[in-house]
Amino acid sequence: MSEVVKEKITAVDTVTCTIDGQQITVPRGTSVFDAAGQIGIVIPAFCNHAKLKPVGACRMCYVEIEKMPKLQVSCATMATDGMVVSTNSQQVREGRKAVIEFTLINHPLDCPTCDKGGECDLQDLTFDHGYDDSRFGFDKMRFIEEEKRDTFDDLKIGPEIVLNRNRCILCYKCVRANKEAFGEYDIGAFERGDLTEINATPGGEVSNPFSGNLVEICPVGALTNSDWRYKIRVWLTKTVPSICNFSGSGTNITFYKEDHKNFVYRVTSRCNDAIDDGWLSDITRYGYQIVNSESRLKTPLIKKGGKQVKASWDEALAVIKKHMGQIKDQSGGVCIGGLISPSLDNASLYSFSKLFRTVFKSNNIDFRGDYRYLPSVTDSLFTIAASQPFSISDIEKSDVIITFGTDLIREHHNEYLKIRRAVNFYNSTVYSVNPYAVKTADIAKSEMVYSPGTDELVINGICLVAIEKKLVNSSAAAKLKSKISKLSPGVLAKLTGLSKEQFEELAEAISSAKKVTFIVGEIVARSLDRDKICAALSNLNKLFGVQDKGQLAVLSRYANSKGAQKLGLSATPYEIVKDELKKIWGEYPDCQPRNTDAMINLMKKEEIKGFITVGANPMRLYPDRSFASEGLEHVDFLVACDMFETETTELADVVLPLCSWAEYDGDYINLEGKVQTGKQAIKPKYESKAAFEIMELIARQLGAKLFENEQVKNEEIEKLLKLDSVLPWPDDFLKIEYEKKSSQDGYPVPLFICDDPHHSGHLTEKSPSLLNFSDSAYVELSKGLAAKIGVADGDPLRVESPVGKIVVPAKISPVLNSDVAIIPRNFSSTQTTSLLMRKKRVDSVKLTRVEE
């Protein structure tokens, strides 16, 4: 392209207009509202939201534009060349006053009772731009429910949402956000004229996993949530910036606390465009309630005569000193193992690692307590895939997005919304490739559901088709073909349950994309053959050059999984991390590294005698409950640190109360590798202590010292974080063997264990608000499967696997379309993991109706 043509294009792409006497050049298609915002002119508005499309419903953002006879709404007027705008002329001010006056005609005098009072846009804008007196003396209109004539006007339209239609100013922000950002349709506007009302869809309720955002963006008190209802006035609270602890993306949040009470009042978003767009999932928004929970562990407990009794910290530490010291002296530190939760902060993780590796001189540590049978291999392909760089903001810049083996709405809420945004606002194309139909599919160009357990074959199929169609570099193609050419695409299509055309579609999409995002998720990560799948991904990456024009990574699931990898928390850390640790400590244990699975195995053989869990609950989450429980029961001395009583703490000899993330300053590394700080909102509740403090105390009990002071600790962590932790893919194409797996007879339905869309891990069931959304386990089925078994929604269903059996109610899923069963793992009342076998790639179950 010649220079001249290029210039022409840039000239066409931008427009220059004058706003309040200031000239500004903006890209074509920018609204006057946004253009004014760029030069610091704030135009008042109710209905405009930076992350939604303009609608021009509230008419508050009036501006005067030369040569236009009437006032224009700036949010829906695009800036054009030579436009002269004034945002604060007499006419504009009068116009705003009139708009507010009209808005307030039917607004009830609810400020004293309204929860929004003090942070209400309507109040603020009336105060700044409105008349201070009303000219409308007639009666106000009010929505009346027949049966609720005497009661207050509030309607509960969802588990956590309360609607007051009288206060609504009809800005449609909630409806638009629900549709454009979350892809949900459970709230809408009904009727016309002055009877227009926002309400839940008839017969339904607003219970989508992002419903809390509707409350936050409501400019008035029409939508309020039960969580914050009549709790405290907002001006009495103080805000503390923090990070979400339930997701891998590190969504930015704000804690609201009060000075005199050790209590977190609520969580709202803290918009960080690079990460979260200001939307929070309900897990993040209501999950904070676990911090205030009454059922938290209040004091240390020690086991006396088979029963756990309350004890002081000194007593508990003395017991730890006695037993751990004994094990260490008699059997050696290698007989001690530990498991830590990857949701804890860097300091805690690093202290844990240092305690084990320098005090116990043991390599028995892990942080992945919910991944089945993870073999201890240094630099396994899965580790490489998980270490790849990823950028959340690049999702919306990609024209092709492929979600592979991930049920985003249950794993990565934030990325789920980002993908929706990419489709709705940037016209990206999404391909959803999963072993079962997922919610993301509604925005996907095509949805591909392959048979469970054939993940790597799908990738191979794509590669083979690409070679066939000559979509890729021929020399690379030839190399790869020699490795995986055993099966033809046609056979692969048959095996995976997809068609050859679908492979072609994907191959063409990847090869023709300008920028591609390839997201791999938990379904792959939790699979037994994760290394094999990652090998296939490595081939795909090399063949198409995916990372040259985009990104491909297995997303980390927990708040600080990436940090745990970077700080060397796995039994076999990266080589560079190991070297650095050696340098910092001057020593590094040379004993056999053992991960969770190996440790539990050794517990059974009584080779591991002492075990410490920190925030981890292997009894609930390890995908073979009987295996885990057998192991933990064999341990001589088990120390469990957690916020709540869990299945694991019940077995423990010493239980130590752990702080929540709101109670100390901590750094977390999100799935992009970005370090973010969560600030302390409240003092530690009860007698709980942060994990890094506990580690230090244990070390001191055993006559060692982890850190001289805070500074030393931070410096050491700093050194490790500086290391480049991206592992290189193997240079060559990898061979992928296909083994035919015989399906278990009599257990026809593949089973997937994952998180409920409203829960995450084992802690969120202590949050009352989240329990309002879903409070017990269920088995999610497709309509067809349910019909086959003969169950209706809510009927109890017996789920049997070769090793276990549970009875849970059936739930008919609107999205599933194949014969799979999904059971959430978040509820202690249902021992979901007892159905799983640790060395099985695809669990399968038998579903039978419970006869009355």
């Binding site: 400020c111 004293p112 003090g118 603020d124 009336t126 105060f127």
Partner: protein, 391 residues
């Protein structure tokens, strides 16, 4: 102690009946003669300026009451005028007249307390009882207006807390009449009383030059014959409409100051009478949306008023960036408020120029060379209120 030192050091206060609060005066005495007298302050420090800097503008009004607790209305007025100047608010005519009336009666009340305590310091016991008896009338008027007898907080930004009570005029006229009557008694008791004259004439003298150099104000300054009164020099709140004289002294001694204060009370009653005669009808609050609270009746019926009420109470109003100084003539002298607004809803700086504090600075000059007993007379004639000195 060196052998040559002939003086003795005596602490007067901080607990002493004649220091009118908790003032400590460190005296160097040569026999019974005062060599130096050093006032030591800070025993009543309450951090009022700092408190005001941490509060919304309207919330600081009760804090001003507590500085000069003998003249709460003057403090209210000084602060409110300063904020009104900062916010550029014009108050209704009626408010101006009502404020003048109330402030002048405050001057009378304050001077009455001074008269009672000062004369009691000098041995005239019954004067105290009589002065407080008359002051009670004015205190009752406060109660009828604002509901409080001392810490009134009645004058507000942009007007008054509530409308004047129905029987306001009757009450004020009664006060004026009664006090004018009683002032004849005070004259009989004190003005020509030989003991009083002996205790005050030629005592605690300060020259006009010294008074100006020490930045004195109020009766302390006018006692030396310097004609300076803020009400005449920089009229505020419509003082230019009133006809009154500023009494001046000649000798600058305690007796002259007594005479001036007595005359000021007469003049104040005269002003109050003019104010009550000429009081116009009108609203008791300015209509300034976003700064002055809307009428309570509207708050209960109109959404706009409800929002403005709510926002003003919780968030206050944002003052522009800038500084103002507003001085008024309080009973003790020039009371100034210096307020710096920084665009937020709380002031960046509030500085009070308290007349008592500045006037107290002249104590060493007033007492040098006089007898120990004259120190009591000197302190009394300054008319200090320690709440204001220490703030």
């Amino acid at each position: 102690m060196s052998a040559e030192k002939k003086t003795i050091t005596l602490n007067m206060g901080p607990q002493h009946p004649s220091t009118h609060g908790v003032l400590r005066v460190k005296l160097e005495l040569d026999g019974e003669r005062v060599v130096t007298a050093e006032p030591i302050i800070g025993y009543l420090h309450t951090g009022i300026e700092k408190t005001m800097e941490s509060m919304l503008y309207y919330k600081a009004i009760p804090a001003t009451d507590r500085m000069d607790y003998l003249a709460p209305m003057s403090n209210n007025l000084g602060y409110c005028l300063a904020v009104e100047k900062l916010m550029d608010i014009e108050v209704p005519e009626k408010v101006k007249w009502a404020r003048v009336c109330l402030v002048e009666l405050t001057r009378v009340a304050s001077h009455l307390v001074w008269l009672g305590t000062h004369s009691m310091d000098l041995g005239a016991m019954s004067m105290l009882i009589y002065a407080f008896r008359e002051r009670e009338l004015i205190i009752d008027l406060y109660e009828a207006c604002g509901g409080q007898r001392m810490m009134t907080s009645y004058i507000r930004i942009g007007g008054l807390a509530s409308d004047l009570p129905a029987d306001f005029e009757k009450k004020v006229r009664n006060i004026i009449k009664t006090i004018r009557e009683k002032m004849k008694d005070y004259d009989k008791l004190l003005t020509e009383n030989p003991i009083f004259i002996m205790r005050t004439k030629g005592v605690a003298v300060i020259s006009a030059e010294d008074a100006i150099n020490y930045c004195l104000s109020g009766p302390m300054l006018r006692g030396c014959g310097v004609d300076y009164d803020v009400r005449k020099a920089n009229p505020y709140s419509g003082y230019e409409n009133f006809d009154f004289d500023v009494p001046l002294g000649k000798n600058g001694d305690a007796y002259d100051r007594y005479l001036i204060r007595m005359e000021e009370m007469r003049q104040s009653l005269k002003i109050a009478e003019q104010a009550i005669d000429g009081m116009p009808e009108g609203p008791y609050r300015a209509h300034v949306p976003g700064v002055v609270l809307p009428p309570k009746e509207d708050v209960l019926y109109k959404m706009e008023s409800m929002i403005f009420h709510f926002k003003i109470i919780t968030d206050g109003f944002k003052a522009p960036v800038g500084s103002v100084y507003q001085a008024i003539e309080s009973p003790r002298g020039e009371l100034g408020f210096y307020i710096t607004g920084d665009g937020t809803n709380i002031p960046r700086r509030v500085r009070v120029r308290p007349p008592s504090f500045v006037n107290l600075g002249a104590l060493p000059i007033l007492t040098e060379g006089y007898l120990l007993a004259d120190v009591v007379c000197a302190i009394g004639s300054i008319d200090i209120v320690l709440g204001e000195v220490d703030r």
